[in-house]
């Protein structure tokens, strides 16, 4: 870096005119463009544009194109119209994958979403040791997911000597089949996902809670509002902007769930945890059908864009202007 600085110094006239000040418009020639730092900004932009073109813009456009093509990496790709979409939509497993994904999103929303909010309010009310609570809550988020999933997979052992079943037996409940049963597999994954994600989301809510003005609480208190009432009528409305954004982000995230079902169950038992992303993975990297995989990806992405648009439109009324 230091070697380039003298080079930059030798051209002191490369300073662009100060922004905002009304400069009389001169004729733009290549020379003024060069002296205005035009070349340098282009040089700076080259790595940015290359990286984004190759690894962001390109793949997005290619995804749209591939969904209308047949590719097997050897022969030239050929246009096949909508047949990839037809193939994916007629897949008998699709409905279940969509249903499972929606079920996961719903369970995570109903049971997982309030946990970090409650945790944040609780930690925010602590007068001391809040750092300890904070760190403890964040610990699960710092464990690499793969290691945590392997641990939990062992905890979910369905035999009577399994970790969770041993704990349940202390309170007289019974061994549960956990990941081995079609009914319990998805809730088990949601339980893990809530444990893994609550701490990091709570940190965001805590940061938001700090910005709630204490005068609002004082005013509510003078008006005779109880602690619960203050929570409902001051804290929750003050957080609603953050809550709305976090809810949308969580929805988008849960619809793209992959690692947890892939490592916990691989989609089983009997496809009970088969999700859309697992299907995309199988299409592309198990069967080598990149057309079908991108077609399903494009449909999921379109659905998520639509969902976000509808969500933002529907919640406009509640979001702080």
């Amino acid at each position: 870096m230091s070697t380039t600085i003298p080079a930059a110094k030798t051209r002191p006239e490369a300073t662009p005119p100060p922004e905002g000040t009304p400069v009389p418009r001169r004729k733009r020639t290549p020379a003024t463009w060069f002296r205005g730092g035009g070349l340098q900004s282009v040089l700076f932009a080259i790595p940015v544009v290359l990286i984004f073109a190759y690894f962001s813009w390109g793949p997005i456009l290619q995804g749209l194109v591939l969904s209308f093509q047949k590719t097997n990496l050897v022969a030239e790709p050929s246009w096949v119209g909508l047949s990839n979409f037809e193939y994916v939509l007629s897949d008998p497993g699709l409905a279940q994958a969509v249903g499972n994904t929606a079920y996961f999103a719903l369970l995570a929303l109903v049971f997982g979403f309030p946990v970090p909010i409650i945790l944040a309010v609780l930690i925010n009310e602590l007068r001391k040791y809040d750092g300890v609570y904070n760190a403890l809550a964040y610990l699960p988020a710092i464990i690499p997911p793969v290691a945590a999933i392997l641990l939990w997979k062992f905890f979910y052992d369905p035999s009577t000597t399994g970790m969770f079943n041993t704990m349940l037996s202390w309170v007289g409940l019974g061994p549960l089949p956990w990941l081995n049963s079609e009914a319990l597999a998805m809730p088990s994954i949601v339980l893990y996902a809530t444990w893994a994600g609550a701490g990091s989301t709570a940190i965001i809510y805590i940061a938001a809670l700090r910005t709630v003005s204490t005068e609002l609480y004082e005013a509510a208190e003078i008006d005779g509002a109880s602690i619960w009432r203050r929570m409902w009528s001051v804290t929750v409305p003050q957080l609603r902007g953050v809550i709305l954004v976090m809810m949308l982000l969580q929805l988008i995230g849960t619809f793209q769930i992959f690692t947890e079902p892939f490592l916990f169950t691989g989609g089983g038992p009997n496809n009970a945890t088969q999700t859309i992303l697992l299907k995309i993975y199988n299409y592309a990297f198990v069967y080598g059908d990149f057309g079908a995989a991108t077609a399903l990806s494009v449909m999921l992405a379109a659905f998520l864009c639509l969902l976000s648009a509808v969500y933002l439109w529907a919640t406009k009324r509640w979001s702080p202007s």
Partner: protein
Amino acid sequence: MSYFQDNAPAGDTATLVIAEDTQARRARRRLGRRGPVEAKERGVISFADRKRRTVRVWLRIIQSVALVGLVFAGLGPLIWSAKASITGTQDIISDPMGIFFAPNEWGNLILAWNGAQIGQSLRNTVFVAVGATISTLVISVLAAYILAVMRPRWAPILSGAILATLFLPGVISLVPLYLTVLDLPGLNISLLNTFWAVWLPAGASAFNVVILQRFFTSIPKEILEAARIDGAGPLRVLWTIVLPLSRPILGVVALLAAIAAWKDFLWPMLVLPDPLLQPVSVVLPALAKGPTPLAVQMAAVFLTLLIPVVLFLIFQKQFLRGVGTAGGIKG
């Protein structure tokens, strides 16, 4: 579009959070002599409430239950994993809760480190995380600098193109990104089985560009102007003024990039099929599927989570503040 409008004040909130944080800390320091109890500003529950008996009792109960729950959920698995890593397979399977009374088998850790190649794959993970962090920092700093400080005529086009990717879910580019890495268009290079396949895509992060751009824009124009009048070129302004001023936000971006790279599983699994290059997150599940004894697996799991947990426990203050700041921007 209203997403932008929602987001715009959130950036100010984030800086407010930081400002308020330092204020609160100063206040705490001042009040520290009088007593730590009054140091913090009130929340939902006021000081008057806290003097009431029922409130105090309930608060004590709720906080104790929460603490027990958090210790159980946060620390429990870690402690169990630590003991399981030095316990025999038979003991772990027959009585997972009783392993604390089982004899120690230190050999597990050595078997995992050498035999199961956890040492090698941890080195790979460090490699992946460091490279991805550098790539993210370089690209997003350059992009944010162009958009916020240099502002050429075509900046709005670049800004729009980068922002557009923020709204598209990642799933759309997973498969094509893989095909891109297999054969870079126009170059005929395959990045498969090279760390570049993990490092370079990490650079294309619109979210980090937005965070940095917002911070760079808030740097007072007068400082940049003064440097330019003194004859500093764009690179020098970036290196000697913009970067030193934005050290905290650079730390946050680097931290988030490193954590994301450390945790990532699917992408490295796809582009690094060679076991000698795979990071630990890819090696572990393969290990669990193979014939490795459970005790060695558990030792491998413990070695994997040890480094991030220790780093977190050492730097937790900076860590939580950084993550909170980023969240404030995101929110």
